[in-house]
Amino acid sequence: MNTQLNFKRGIRTTLFTLMVILFMIVILLPIYYIFLTAFAPSGKLFTVPLTYVPRSLAIERFQDIFGALPIARYMLNSTLLATFSTILALTVSLLAAYAIARLNFPGANLVMVGLLASSMLPGTATVIPLFQMYQTLNLMDTLHGLLILYGSALLPITTWVLVSFLRQVPVEIEDAAKVDGASFFPLLWRIVLPVIRPGIATMFLINFIIGWNEFFTPLIFARGAGVKVITMALSEAQVIGARSEFDVSWGNMSAVAILTTIPVFIITLIFQRQIVEGITSGVFK
């Protein structure tokens, strides 16, 4: 009787372990395959059947792409845009979130719903007038022009999440500070900010990832080499040294893919908990 029960449990544990392994393979194998492609020596890229355990790795793809494209400049632009759009969006969202969560003013709900509704407006349904505006205002191919659009995309969710974080924090501390006569900005800086630091940190990580991964906005608004970002190098790397339209350099593409992905992987693996908290607090609270 007891052995039969143990046997049944053993089967269930084995099945469960197999499912976890299958899940890991489905996620990690394609990523590993791109890694292999990026580091394959020239002659070893096209093999049938595939070699999953390479005998040697090479960095010539990376030398090629850094030689042919301003990759460092692209990565710097991506970093600048992701960082500053995040900081700007967090600053103005925090102000708005504080007003919505604490000041109890007529129209607070309207602002919340309006933000949510505006985030449902498809980017493709706003891009043509923005393109015309940017041409008239000379904002095309400028980092500050891109910053305005990057930041804009972050505002609705950031405000929503910060409101939800603020609502979880007791109001008493702020009231006490107010009685002491603290005026608004010191109050925000010294009392409110420290309490919702986890919320700010979470949204910083998520917004940075979103900004770093942006592609559609720079595709339309960043056409000069000086303002291009790393996600745009994928297609450019494919045609380095190409002899025809069908001559695609998968190795170079994979090398750019690796460069684009490493920063977000590091952030995700280190701050897994914070990111999950950010994702879920946007949905639940």
Partner: protein, 296 residues
């Protein structure tokens, strides 16, 4: 009394001052351009031909005759239904998996997030290599198992599935995280009560877990469906909408008409069709959501 009123006026003023930057920023970069798109959709507007002529409903009439729009709507429907269904089912399964207690659970949860963190354009471009007929990862596995090498991106049906599979791979993690959080919110006493009533594994999932998760599942279906309709990168980099127009989506069509053909008026009309579909999905979905809440 007077002082009190004064204080509240000041508070309201301060509040509006604080929300102004966010509101203004969104008005200028989202709401105004959207209204302007609606306006342009009634014009023949092309920067190449230098036209801006009022044409009434001509652009919308052209939509109804455009075979590309037809094909795009067909694929939008296929892609949205298939991808959302797969993502919800797999998302629930992965959430259940990640909710169990096992060694390396934290690591597995982190791995689950990796596709979420990757840029859509990276995944879409890499997928083209992974679906490569001769040297791609997927065909290598299929070939080892069956000796066949399907032409993924050349045939209509397989190209559609390639786009869908890529999308599911990237986005299921997000749903799994949400559903996992939902699972963690269900009180354990409910499962104990179900156990006393004789419901084990599958039945307690069916009678306890699913009904309690239902509002969450429905709101995630709406959310996911809307973002399927808006998908751009996967189609842009993986298939270029092809073969022919088999995997064309509306965002991609707006991009083509607007920034390749440079036909702003017509592209704006397509963008309005896209908005209308998103609106319908949202409103119909909201109706379902309200009924699910009432039933709970």
């Amino acid at each position: 009394m007077f002082g009190q009123q004064n204080l509240s006026t000041r508070r309201i003023l301060l509040a509006w001052l604080l929300v102004t930057p966010v509101v203004l920023w969104r008005l200028l970069t989202s709401v105004y351009p959207f209204l302007r798109t609606f306006y342009i959709s009634f014009f023949d507007n092309s920067p190449v031909r230098r036209t801006f002529d009022f044409v009434g409903l001509d652009n919308y009439m052209a939509l109804t005759r455009d075979a590309n729009v037809d094909a795009t709507l067909t694929f939008t429907l296929f892609f949205t239904v298939t991808s959302v269904a797969l993502q919800v089912v797999l998302g629930l399964a992965i959430a259940e998996l990640l909710n169990q207690r096992f060694k390396m659970r934290n690591f597995t949860r982190a791995v689950n997030l990796l596709p979420w963190a990757m840029a859509p354009i990276v995944i879409a471009t890499a997928a083209r290599w992974i679906f490569h007929q001769d040297y791609g990862l997927i065909n290598d596995i299929i070939w080892r198992l069956s000796g066949e090498r399907p032409l993924w991106l050349v045939n209509f049906t397989t190209a559609r599935f390639a786009v869908t599979i890529t999308d599911v791979w990237k986005n299921t993690a997000f749903l799994a995280v949400i559903f996992l959080s939902g699972l963690q919110g269900i009180p354990l006493e409910l499962y104990e009560a179900a156990k006393i009533d004789g419901a084990d594994g599958v039945r307690s999932y069916w009678y306890v877990t699913l009904p309690l998760l239902m509002p969450l599942i429905i709101s995630m279906i709406i959310f996911t469906a809307i973002f399927r309709v808006l998908t751009f990168e996967i189609v842009y980099a993986l298939t270029n909408g092809g073969p022919g127009t088999a995997t064309s989506l509306l965002s991609y069509l707006v991009y083509l008409e607007g920034f390749r053909v440079l036909n702003f008026g017509y592209a704006s009309a397509i963008a309005m069709l896209l908005f209308f579909i998103v609106l319908v999905v949202g409103v119909v979905g909201y109706g379902f959501l309200r009924r699910a809440w009432e039933r709970l």
